[in-house]
């Protein structure tokens, strides 16, 4: 039972909630990192008068935390943009930071921890070194992980700001280099946004933004934020479709050109199926095993809704994510090395 999904789809159901229901809703939302979004969704409706006091203050608090994160991100963007404009020709904001820069409603209440940016592969070294001179630090990872990132992944190891602990992920591609669908990053189209106090920033165009979110979610191997990311896609489809009736079609055709249609189809299917996203075309589900896995991973990871099926789903998707990321000849040594390292780390605190 997912009260969270039901409430996000149809906030009016809260009028029949008892105290226990409210408590489950809060717990599920907190575990799914969706409590901020839930707050906005409930306060937006007329149903906000049905929210009991003990829930109201928790939602207000979550909203305040989310607002602060947005403010902090804008502050970070302002100093980053000065630095990056000097250091590289083109840098593009991705995901959460892009939603904030574009002022999309999907950013409201969205839990936010990392800033993701895309830069040209040729300037990545220069960008990394200038960030290191400006208070960003490498996170503590061992040499193996560092090499793994640099050789196979689409990003360098995350950087952390020494003062405010913001995490910055610098990407040079959309997907890991070892993914067989990995496109040329130059093929993604960008759109400028003007922000007061910050200046001009680049984000992906609406279609490519959605395609990137879909690729990101449906190549994951760990789904801590799976439900939140699916809800992001739902909100993005809804938002862009209000201004453009044919938005979904243009995403589909654009994804076809980029060779990323498969991920977009999955996004459309699960948005429609689980979040009632208004999509005209009936989507087809993936194969039975994958369908089982996604149906159960897109549930709140809380005891009130968790079943054994979710554990199986997580295992299937863990392997799928890794297999998409790299071929077996690379994956098996990597995972063996990882589990060996984990065994060694089991030392007393």
């Amino acid at each position: 039972m997912s009260l969270l999904l039901d409430t996000l789809k149809a906030p009016h159901i809260v009028e029949n909630f008892n105290d226990a229901d409210w408590q489950i809703l809060l717990s599920q939302a907190r575990m799914a990192n969706l409590i901020g979004r839930l707050a906005y969704r409930l306060f937006d409706t007329e149903k906000s008068k049905d929210i009991p006091e003990f829930v109201h203050w928790q939602l207000i608090s979550a909203q305040k935390v989310a607002l602060r994160q947005i403010q902090q991100a804008r502050c970070e963007l302002s100093s980053l943009s000065k630095l990056l404009d000097q250091r590289c020709q083109r840098w593009v904001l991705l995901k959460g930071a892009a939603y904030i820069a574009r002022g999309l409603s999907v950013a409201d209440g969205r839990s936010f921890s990392d800033i993701d940016i895309l830069v040209d592969k040729t300037s990545i070294k220069r960008v990394e070194f200038s960030l290191l001179g400006e208070g960003w630090q490498r996170t503590q990872i061992d040499d193996y992980d560092d090499r793994y990132y640099r050789q196979w992944m689409h990003e360098i190891p995350p950087l952390k700001h020494s003062e405010n602990r913001t995490v910055l992920d610098v990407h040079h591609n959309i997907l890991p280099l070892t993914n067989r669908d990995c496109p040329e990053p130059e093929r993604f189209e960008t759109q400028r946004v003007e922000l007061e106090d910050i200046g001009t920033l680049l984000t992906l165009t609406a279609e490519d933004l959605v395609i990137h979110s879909a690729c990101h979610l449906f190549t994951e191997s760990e789904f801590h934020n799976g439900l939140r990311d699916l809800s992001d896609l739902d909100m993005l489809f809804r938002h862009f479709s209000t201004a453009n009736d044919h938005f979904v079609e243009s995403v589909i055709s654009r994804a076809g050109k980029l060779g990323l249609r498969g991920y977009v189809d999955l996004a459309l299917y699960y948005c429609q199926k689980l979040l009632d996203t208004p999509i005209n075309k009936q989507q087809r589900p993936p194969g039975a095993v994958l369908n089982f896995a996604f149906r159960h991973i897109f549930t709140p990871n809380h005891k009130s809704s968790r079943t054994w099926k979710r554990h199986i789903a997580a295992t299937i998707l863990y392997w799928r994510g890794h297999l998409l990321r790299m071929p077996l000849r690379l994956l098996i040594p990597h995972l063996m090395r990882k589990s060996f390292a984990r065994l060694q780390q089991e030392k007393p605190v």
């Binding site: 717990s27 009991p52 608090s61 403010q71 809380h302």
Partner: protein, 287 residues
């Protein structure tokens, strides 16, 4: 599993543990709270338990959970009870952003609240405990909850976290002081929790307006000395001692400004509890 439901000031806690001594200390230290009726909902579902691994038996550890969130590293088993109290502080300080939350001892007399913000180890908890034992009403030794709508402070009346030498000092000074078990070698040294007085707990739903702010410092051998502090200095210290000033943003800024426009701030140096009590008494007397 042992389970206790408690109303603590404005919050409703559910405390669960599989450790008998923790449950016994809850029953001892929260004895007055347990007499109060609980609301039907729970704000914070909290658990302290030994993990399901070899660490249950081999150099046993405890873990803290709020619902299914585990914000801390495990601690040795004999620190289970202090961990529960620290965890409860964490719950409030990280989620109750409908208040401005200051790291402060808070006491009340004559319907007037004195807030005593101070950093770790400044003797704030000891002073708060001593004042409670000298007839003041305890609001909190750790968390001042300041209403964002008015001038009111909200009581919690929880057990007071006493450290190191202060445990013996308070015990020898006040025969009625009642402590839970003593935990040695914690992150904060030797720690024991003092039971809040019955009066304080019975009135834990009674808010009262903030009357003044006192920044205490314990200085051995000193006479009690109260000196006015400028709003500007006080401003900086209130920000430094706040748990959620950053989260509140502009709202927090205006709240702190409002406080400083309506109540005075003092620096306070003391060494003897009697002197401290006399000085603070004068602050809340009718003019």
């Amino acid at each position: 599993m042992y389970n206790h439901r408690l109303a603590i000031g404005p919050f409703s806690f559910s405390l669960s543990t599989n450790i008998r001594s923790v449950s016994q200390q809850i029953e001892q230290l929260y004895a007055h709270h347990l007499c109060h009726p609980c609301p039907s909902y729970v704000d914070f579902n909290v658990r302290v338990k030994t993990p399901l691994s070899h660490r249950r038996w081999f150099r046993p550890q405890v873990e803290f959970f709020m619902d299914e969130i585990n914000p801390f590293k495990p601690l040795p088993r004999d620190q289970a009870y202090p961990m529960l109290e620290w965890g409860m502080n964490w719950c409030i300080a990280n989620h109750a952003h409908h208040y401005l939350i200051e790291h402060a001892g808070v006491i009340e007399k004559n319907g007037r609240v004195i807030m005593m913000p101070a950093t770790q180890g400044s003797g704030k908890s000891t002073l708060t405990a001593a004042m409670m034992l000298s007839g003041w009403r305890l609001f909190s030794d750790e968390l001042a909850l300041l209403s964002l709508q008015g001038n009111e402070v909200i009581p919690l009346a929880r057990p007071i976290n006493i450290k190191n030498d202060a445990i013996d000092i308070l015990q020898s000074h006040f025969s009625q002081a009642e402590f839970g078990d003593i935990a040695h070698d914690t992150l904060k040294g030797t720690v024991a929790l003092m039971k809040p007085g019955q009066e304080s707990v019975a009135n834990m739903h009674q808010k009262a307006p903030l009357h003044c702010i006192v920044f205490p410092t314990y200085k051995a051998g000193s006479e009690a000395r109260l000196s006015p502090l400028s709003s500007l200095d006080s401003f900086q210290r209130l920000i430094d001692n706040s748990f959620n000033y950053n989260v509140l943003g502009a709202e927090g800024f205006h709240k702190v400004a409002d406080i400083l426009q309506s109540v005075p701030s003092y620096e306070f140096e003391y060494s003897r509890f009697e002197d401290a009590s006399d000085t603070l008494d004068k602050l809340v007397e009718d003019a």
